[in-house]
Structure formats: structure tokens, C-alpha cells
């Protein structure tokens, strides 16, 4: 297990107008599960491939435990990688796939065998060792790819959207399994996904990327609970953005003043967001700050209902609460729990 350091990593593909990776600096502590999260095309794969040695950065350095490996070939980095396409060798059995890295390291058959069976047991595939990849289900293939990457005891494990091709149910069970395996081995892992739920489930730390840069870096709680930019907030599923002014420790929006302790970085002209799950509706004016409007839409969705309220300014906000029997057209008040209110620079 090792610490990985990226310093000012930059990558500009020939012919591209803007860099795919734009000066990324990041320290991944020993044993941490760190996820790069961001929309498609924001440079996650490019960053991973530079760490793995599959692509050369134009600028910057990669250190593993303080050792500069920027110019080391991929074959010599001792990094385990799980690819989006899995890239299982089709002409080799499961056991041969897993043994490949050990063979390349010059281990004799007798030394390889116990390691291969232990790796296959770790992913619960011991009984399928002699099958070929095309004889396995999608989930089983995932596990082979994971065992093949782990068996060489890599200093870091790198996974590039490994679950994106799986259906929801299988994806969730693979996430739990990956969580169990990485935590039981205490391995340093770099994971890439564009799915915020997956990132929240798996990670010790989430690095949100946008256009080759880091937008925010923190624990899942920090990223979800206190997004620092509108981009992060939107990516984490926040909505109900309203223009606002910050005045000391208060926010003014839609003619309402709300107390809020804010980051120093929030300028006077700013935006607020109200998390739909943190809102409540009432017919009577509640104590404390609340927005008044007309209920435009009520959609029953089982556990919760989705209510859209039109404010006097014409802006709309959506609340997701347990069904409260309100009808469209009614005059309602929207209030919020303190942690449902967020403020950002525009």
C-alpha cells in the first residue's frame, strides 16, 4: 500500500483547444479509497491513465511513496488497473488471466498457484478457475478483472468506471463487494465514476472534477452536505437555485431573510440552493423564514411526493416530502431545515 502524489499534472491532446487535465495536484493517502467524480469528458480517465503510465503528462510529476515515477513505464509501476471494458484476455482461462501478472514478474508455477487460488477465493470465484471469460456472467467477469489486478499486490488499485456496463442491481452488489475487499485489504485505491451515488457509497474521499480541474475535494459528507460551488451542488443533485445577496451572516432571496453561517468565499451577489428533501410545505405561515407561493404541481411518487411551487417572481422550486394532501392551485408556505440551505458564488 502506498501514498500517491500528483503535482500539477497537465495533459493537452494534440489538436485539442483546452487541456484534458489542467494542473491537477492531489495527495492520496496510504490506504484511502479516493474517487474522481465528474461528468463525461472532464478528464478523469486521462488523469488515471497518467497515474498508470499509459499516457505521458505534458507537465507535472507522479510520486509513489515519495519516489518520482513520472518517466517509469506502465510495466514497471506495480499498479493494478481495472478497465472499463475489463480487458480480460479471451484466450486464457480465469486462472491464467489471474496468473498473468505473476508470470510477467517471473514467478514459477508453484509460487503462482497458491496466490492465484487465494485471489480467486477473495472474489468468490475459486470454482470457475478453468472457465474462459466468455463463459462467465458480467458480474463474474468483473471479479476476474479485480482478482487479476489485486493478485500482484499492487501499490495502488486503479478502477476506471468498472461498473458502468452493469444493470443497477448488479452494480449495487458489486459496489458492496468492492467496498468489502478494498477495506479488508487496506488497499490504496483510485476510482473513477460519473455516478454521484456510486462515489458516495464507495469513497473515503471524493475529488469532483470539471474541465480538467478540481472543483472540490473532501469526504462524501463534505461534498454532499457542503458543496462549495454551484457545479458541485448541481452534480450532487442539488436544485432550486435562486439569486441572493449575502449580508454578514444572513442571506436575502425572494424578499426573505435567512440566518446562515457562510464560507468567507461567498460574495455579496450570490446564489442559494434549497435541497428538495429538506423542504416542508404548509398552508399556515410557519415561524421563521419561509417562501410564499402557489402550488403548481403535485406528483405522488410513493415514499415521497414531488411538489412544485411557483413563487411571486415566477421562479419555481421543488420540494420532495412525504405526501401531505395539498392540491395544485393552493396558496402554500415553503420552509427549510437549516442544512438544506446552501450559498455559492454565482
Amino acid at each position: 500500500m502506498a501514498q500517491v502524489t500528483l503535482t500539477h499534472i497537465t495533459k493537452l491532446f494534440p489538436g485539442a483547444a483546452t487541456p484534458a487535465v489542467d494542473g491537477i495536484s492531489l495527495v492520496i493517502p496510504k490506504g484511502s479509497f479516493t474517487t474522481l467524480l465528474g461528468p463525461s469528458g472532464c478528464g478523469k480517465s486521462s488523469t488515471l491513465r497518467i497515474v498508470a503510465g499509459l499516457s505521458k503528462p505534458d507537465n507535472g510529476m507522479i510520486l509513489i511513496d515519495g519516489r518520482n515515477i513520472t518517466h517509469l513505464s506502465a510495466a514497471k509501476r506495480n499498479i493494478g488497473m481495472v478497465f472499463q471494458s475489463l480487458a480480460l484476455f479471451p484466450h486464457m482461462t480465469v486462472a491464467e488471466n489471474v496468473a498473468f501478472g505473476l508470470k510477467m514478474r517471473g514467478l514459477a508455477e508453484a509460487e503462482r498457484r497458491p496466490k492465484v487460488s487465494r485471489a480467486l477465493e477473495l472474489v468468490e470465484l475459486g470454482h470457475l478457475a478453468e472457465r474462459y471469460p466468455h463463459q462467465l456472467s458480467g458480474g463474474q467477469q468483473q471479479r476476474v478483472a479485480l482478482a487479476r489486478a489485486l493478485v500482484v499486490e499492487p501499490s495502488i488499485l486503479i478502477l476506471d468506471e468498472p461498473f458502468s456496463a452493469l444493470d443497477r442491481k448488479l452494480r449495487e452488489s458489486m459496489q458492496i463487494e468492492l467496498y468489502r475487499i478494498t477495506r479488508s485489504l487496506g488497499i490504496t485505491a483510485m476510482f473513477v465514476t460519473h455516478d454521484q451515488e456510486e462515489a458516495l457509497t464507495l469513497s473515503d474521499r471524493i475529488v469532483v472534477m470539471n474541465q480538467g480541474r478540481i472543483e472540490q475535494d473532501g469526504t462524501p459528507r463534505e461534498i454532499y452536505g457542503a458543496p462549495k460551488t454551484r457545479f458541485v451542488a448541481e452534480f450532487m443533485g442539488l436544485s432550486n437555485f435562486l439569486p441572493a445577496q449575502s449580508r454578514g451572516s444572513a442571506l436575502v432571496f425572494e424578499g426573505v431573510t435567512a440566518e446562515k453561517t457562510m464560507d468567507a468565499g461567498v460574495p455579496q451577489e450570490c446564489f442559494v440552493a434549497l435541497r428538495p428533501e429538506g423542504l416542508s410545505l404548509s398552508v399556515a405561515k410557519p415561524d421563521g423564514p419561509a417562501l410564499n407561493g402557489r402550488l403548481a404541481e403535485a406528483i405522488y411518487q410513493g415514499a415521497t411526493s414531488s411538489y412544485t411551487v411557483e413563487l411571486p417572481t415566477g421562479r419555481r422550486i421543488t420540494a420532495r416530502t412525504p405526501d401531505c394532501g395539498l392540491q395544485p392551485g393552493q396558496d402554500v408556505w415553503v420552509s427549510w431545515s437549516p442544512d438544506a440551505l446552501h450559498a455559492f458564488a454565482a
Partner: protein, 269 residues
């Protein structure tokens, strides 16, 4: 039932397919029937069953000698042409070439598939003679390598175009050098395609008459040419017997391709 698929049109489609197969296969069946004819002339229907013409054919030194030549020639041409074809396919698929150059190279390398054999034969004869190359074997091997190449290039190229680059990257991250990656991952993954191209090339070389006729000399001939020259002066079922054996060999090759590669994938360009 699908719209527009009346039972009538389905019937006509099946009947059409059946007629087409009949048209393609009936002559082959006739050759085989004639080859087991007990009479002295190739006649249909045959005058009784006998394998004697197989005996006659196999004891004719003009056939056995040229059959040996054809086998050796096809084997040598395939042995030389296959690695060359694989290398050419890698160059076309992976070389950092402008797409126009890539297309041109592909067209040039595959052109023996389109250019008539006679044209290739005449061109080779003129070129090799003016280069002072008069040895029949050397000329035949060169000419037949040209016949084998496009088949190997075509199958290898098709397989390379579907090749997942992550396979090689995975091998690298697992510690494989470029050479190990090539020998342990890339070539084994391409192997069925290369084999299919090589088998097809072998059959084409073995069956060829149009190119060979310009390259042989009086002491070196190939089986298809021996059959043709025999038929100019003789008319007996031993030619049918030889042809039947050729049909058998070709069929075996096609089955081998089907086994390693899938014939549909091979024929569908």
C-alpha cells in the same frame, strides 16, 4: 407474423435459395459421380461403380509429381506470406498514417483479390524475366506469396480493427514488456483470424492455374496445370477422380476455417 411476409413469398424465397444451391453444387456432385464411373469415358449416368480411376490418377506420375509440387508450393507460399501479411496488416492498422495513405495501402495490398490472375501472371512474367529471374520455383513462390498475402491481410486487418486496445494496456500494467504483450496477448488473440487467412491462402495457392501458367517451366508443373494439359489429349474419368480429391481438400479447408474462425465472419468483408 411480420408484415409483407406472406407464406407465398416465403415459399419463393426458399425455392430460390434451393435452386441457387443446386446450381452451385450440382456440377460438383456430377464430377464426383463421374469419378466413380466404371466405364472408360466420363459419362452421366455412370456405367456402374468403381474406384479404378482413382487408382489410375494416383499412379500417373504427371499427377502425383505435380500434386506434390502444388502442396509444397502452397505450403511455402503460406509460410512466407502469412508473417508478411500479418506484418502488413499491423502496418496498415497501427501505423501513424494519414487516412488517405492508409486507404491506398490497403487497396494496393488487397488488389490481388480483384486483379485477374492472368494479368498478375503476365505482369510477373515480364517483371521477373527482365529482372533475370528464371528459376521456376523461385518465380512460383514469389507469385503465390502474392496470392496468399491479401487473404491473410484481410482477416488480420478485420480482427485488428475489432481489437480492444485495453487488452494490451492491461498486459502492460500487469508487467508485460512490449514483446511479451505481442507474443502472449496480441498474436494469440489474433490467431484464429491469422489461421483462417492462412488456410484460405493455402487453398487459393493450391487451386491456382491462371498465375502459375506463366511461371512454370517444362520440368516443373502444378496440379491444376497438369490436369488441364492432360485433358487436352485424354478424356477419361481419372481427371474427375483428381477433381473429386481437390473438392475434398477444399471442403476440409473450409471446415477448418469454420472451426477456427466462423466462415460467415470470414466471407462477410
Amino acid at each position: 407474423m411480420e408484415q409483407g411476409m406472406s407464406p407465398y413469398s416465403d415459399f419463393f424465397r426458399r425455392a430460390g435459395t434451393g435452386l441457387l444451391f443446386l446450381f452451385l453444387l450440382a456440377p460438383l456432385a456430377a464430377v464426383i459421380v463421374v469419378s466413380v464411373n466404371a466405364g472408360t469415358t466420363p459419362k452421366f449416368p455412370p456405367e456402374g461403380f468403381s474406384l479404378k480411376w482413382y487408382g489410375t490418377a494416383l499412379s500417373n506420375p504427371a499427377f502425383t509429381g505435380s500434386a506434390f509440387n502444388s502442396l509444397l508450393l502452397a505450403a511455402l507460399a503460406t509460410a512466407v506470406g502469412t508473417p508478411l501479411g500479418v506484418a502488413a496488416a499491423f502496418g496498415i492498422a497501427r501505423g501513424r498514417l494519414p487516412s488517405a495513405v492508409r486507404g491506398l495501402l490497403e487497396a494496393v495490398f488487397l488488389s490481388p483479390l480483384i486483379v485477374p490472375g492472368i494479368v498478375i501472371g503476365v505482369a510477373l512474367l515480364v517483371a521477373l524475366s527482365s529482372a533475370g529471374l528464371r528459376d521456376a520455383w523461385l518465380r512460383l513462390i514469389l507469385g503465390h506469396v502474392l496470392l496468399v498475402l491479401p487473404y491473410v491481410i484481410r482477416t488480420t486487418l478485420a480482427s485488428l480493427q475489432n481489437f480492444d486496445p485495453a487488452l494490451e494496456e492491461a498486459a502492460h500494467t500487469l508487467g508485460a514488456s512490449r514483446f511479451k504483450t505481442l507474443t502472449q496477448v496480441t498474436l494469440p488473440v489474433l490467431r484464429p483470424a491469422i489461421m483462417a487467412g492462412a488456410i484460405f491462402g493455402f487453398i487459393i495457392s493450391f487451386d491456382d492455374a491462371a498465375v502459375s501458367i506463366f511461371l512454370i517451366d517444362s520440368s516443373t508443373s502444378t496440379l491444376p496445370l497438369a490436369i488441364m494439359s492432360y485433358m487436352q489429349y485424354n478424356f477419361d474419368p481419372s481427371v474427375a477422380a483428381i477433381s473429386s480429391m481437390l473438392i475434398g481438400l477444399t471442403l476440409a479447408g473450409a471446415l477448418a476455417i469454420e472451426r477456427v474462425f466462423g466462415l460467415k465472419k470470414f466471407l462477410g468483408s
